[in-house]
Amino acid sequence: MAAVPKAETSKWKMVSCDPDKCTGCTVCEYICSLTKDKVFSAQKSRIRTMRLHPLVNISIACRLCSPAPCVTACPRDALKQSEQTGVIIIDDDKCDGCSWCIEACDYGAITLHPELKKVRICDLCEGDPKCVKWCPEEALDFTTKDILAQKARIAVTKKLFKESIEVAGIKT
């Protein structure tokens, strides 16, 4: 059996939301539940939005923590993390819906499927997340933590060097 090469965790791609762009429209929830369960249902969505205040909106899906607290918390070893993609793989035969993983997740990225009574976590739609595709605001990104850090660096640099950029007419 050929060994699957282990990817660096920094190369794992995840669904990340830019709160500045997120409008709280929940289109991500609609498309997620439709893709995974063929129905519209917020409870069945693997990504959830949170509007704490009209000015404070975000969508949250699995952050691919490593090591993943949900995996550690599962008393039945029903969860394991793919070394290749970082996705949390759920063994439905072992999962009994006890929800220790839900408590262990700091981001609320795990939900209990209301009918199956098994937990559900974003699986990145086999590398083509539908929520990212359908987000009308392009607030969702399918990217690595490295690239997220890079984007932040670009943003802060633009801010720091605003004057020079304007003077030199640099296109950014």
Binding site: C25, T26, V39, L55
Partner: protein, 631 residues
């Protein structure tokens, strides 16, 4: 019949009895949902002549077939319907946000409230479990405080709440029903109907699936709408939002100022959409399923109202701005925030304050009545104080809380001439003295003064017709947009998305069919729009409204626009109004008195409601004739 939840929830607040009934396909197909379904349910469950505040007047809230689905802007709407305490006729008001989504997910197309609770209550709908809860501790709270308190006590942040504020409790006739903090079913005073039932709030948790028959077909349509919503058809709402209207209407001299004294406002730039976006708008958010996003959240950056955070739209901005002569945007935003806090229609509250200012300037009321307030146009502090007094029925506010029409009758003298309303509902921000297609649309609107029942300002503002002229043909223009807008309000999709349905009924029928599995042709849907407009008319005829009520405010018909420029001298004469009404009634298939003919009702499949018009179409022989017969 997917898309629909297939159930109607009945709640008798007097007896505490709660039951459900299945939604019949014929009813769904004929009246679609939203206002159409709600209006039919109201008609069927009420008796003629019932006082709007009596337990006999039911309050209906309905979602549309698209609610709970991913159809852009369609997923979230809900409509309240009841006999309006302002018009004593058909009252309806829609709202968006997330409440309608939750209601559909809980499994209801409509909820009908009957009777009156003995004490303050709220309804807690947790899917199939429905309970009437004590609301004593919520009485007096704002809608925002109520929403927070209910989410806290039921321990679920995703519960959606629609509630009334202190104004609704005090039966202020312009009270609204607010959901998701800033979204209001604003017009027609339906919040006061809710208050009259001692119903503080409706809280919903919905966790059921919403299914569609063919997801690929639906997604294809959704994709098309998403693309269109990113394009020019929705540009206005994505960028400046409706406050863009300020400079547009200013240029046309169609922006009512100082309670329709003038048609331009000197400080327009400082309250424009451009200025607002640059200085105040902190974020633009969207409702459930929306691919446009329009909700401009403004924050006052400094000064005495620093930190005030509110949703902003043109209409309330106009009502508390130019209509009250106020050019201070900080104060206007504070006014909107207060309106939401007390739970009043932020258009009508500006209309009432402007009316009171007009009376004060003309000496019809003085400091004695205002309790010392100098209620001149432009005094924004006095305006904010009056918003509070009206909302809480304090002092002069008690009379004004009746709305301009009833208040003017109580105040007497020349006051009715300054009451700018149609059928009892305060005017909105278009000076229809120089927008004559719109003037017709406003006059015939079944829910009173309203730009959203017909959108007939469109051809006027765009220059497609001579807006200063009343002529034949306008009736057809008004009828066509009315029928379309009625479907928009029944499906429910957002009016702001109207431009993205390039093919009108065809696009909307495709969405309806894809969601429900009921094949609906564009023509079927158009007829449904016509049917629902006739329904509004029939309800009003049942409540004894006549052609006499299809009229315009005194100022619109008697005071020409005084501003120098394009619109100077324009007004709508009785002769012009009559011409417009005759033309419209004819196109509608109604008599000269505005009564739908039996043939028309048969044509649109309303044979069951012919009884409403029968006596009026065939008047009983007059006394004189009867006497003659006896001879």
């Amino acid at each position: 019949m997917l898309g629909y939840a297939g159930r109607i929830l009945h709640v008798d607040l007097s007896s505490g009895k709660i039951w459900t009934e299945s939604l019949k396909e014929e009813l769904a197909r004929k009246y679609i949902g939203g206002i159409g379904l709600g209006m039919r349910l109201l008609l069927d469950h009420s008796r003629p002549g019932a006082d709007p505040f009596s337990p006999e007047n039911p309050l209906v809230v309905a979602t549309g077939p698209l609610s709970g689905t991913m159809v852009p802007t369609g997923g979230n709407g809900h409509a309240f319907v009841s006999k309006s305490p302002q018009t004593f006729a058909m009252g309806e008001a829609k709202s968006h946000g997330h409440f309608g989504t939750a209601m559909k997910r809980a499994g209801y197309d409509a909820i009908i409230f009957y009777g009156k609770a003995e004490k303050p209550v709220y309804l807690w709908v947790d899917d199939d479990a429905v309970q009437i809860m004590d609301a004593k501790h919520l009485w007096g709270k704002s809608p925002q405080e109520t929403e927070d308190a209910i989410r806290n006590e039921l321990k679920d942040f995703y519960i959606r709440v629609a509630s009334i504020g202190p104004a609704g409790e005090k039966l202020v006739r312009i009270a609204c029903i607010i959901n998701d903090r800033t979204r209001a079913a604003g017009r027609c005073g339906l919040g006061a109907v809710m208050g009259s039932k001692n119903l503080k709030a409706i809280a919903i948790r919905g966790s059921k699936d919403v299914k569609v028959p063919n997801q690929d077909r639906l997604l294809e349509l959704v994709k098309i709408q998403h693309e269109r919503m990113k394009g020019p058809a929705a540009r206005k709402y994505r960028t400046l939002g409706t406050p863009e209207n300020v400079l547009v209407l200013q240029k046309l001299a169609a922006m009512p100022t100082n309670n329709f004294t003038r048609a331009t406002f000197d400080g327009a730039e400082k309250i424009s959409g451009e200025y607002l976006n640059e200085r105040f708008v902190a974020k633009i958010i969207g409702c459930s399923s929306c691919a446009m996003r329009c909700e401009h959240i403004a924050v006052v950056p400094e000064g005495p109202y620093k930190g005030t955070t509110t949703r902003v739209e043109y209409e309330p901005l106009w009502a508390m701005g130019p209509n009250c002569g106020v050019g201070n945007l900080d104060a206007i935003l504070k006014g909107m925030d207060l309106g939401n806090y007390y739970g009043v229609d932020t258009i009508s509250i500006g209309g009432i304050v402007g009316f009171a200012m007009d009376l004060y300037e003309h000496g019809i009321i003085g400091k004695e009545e205002t309790g010392g307030l100098e209620l001149n146009f432009g005094n924004h502090e006095a305006m904010l104080e009056m918003i509070k007094r009206i909302s809480l029925r304090e002092g002069l506010g008690d009379v004004l809380a009746e709305g301009v029409k009833l208040a003017a009758e109580k105040i007497g003298k020349d006051a009715p001439n300054y009451a700018v309303h149609i059928k009892g509902v305060e005017m909105t921000g278009y000076d229809i003295r120089g927008l004559k297609t719109a003037a017709l649309g406003y006059a015939v609107s079944f829910r009173g003064a309203d730009h959203n029942r017909h959108g007939a300002y469109g051809p006027d503002v765009a220059g497609k017709v001579n807006r200063f002229k009343a002529e034949k043909g306008r009736g057809k223009l008004v009828k066509e947009t009315e029928d379309l807008y009625t479907i928009i309000d029944s499906l429910i999709v957002c009016k702001f998305s109207r431009g993205t349905y390039f093919e009108g009924f065809k696009d909307l029928a495709a969405l309806y069919s894809a969601v429900t599995g009921i094949e609906m042709t564009p023509e079927d849907l158009r007829v449904a729009g016509e049917r629902i407009n006739n329904l509004g008319r029939l309800f009003n005829i049942r409540e004894d409204l006549t052609r006499r009520d299809d009229t315009l405010p005194w100022k619109i018909m008697n005071v020409p626009i005084p501003d120098e420029g394009v619109a100077k001298g324009s007004f709508v004469s009785q002769e012009e109004l009559d011409l417009l009404l005759d033309d419209y009634y004819e196109v509608r298939g109604w008599t000269k008195d505005g009564i739908p003919l039996v043939e028309k009702l048969k044509e649109v499949g309303m044979e069951d409601l012919i009884y409403i018009v029968k006596d009026k179409l065939e008047p009983k022989p007059s006394k004189k004739k009867a006497e003659k017969k006896e001879e």
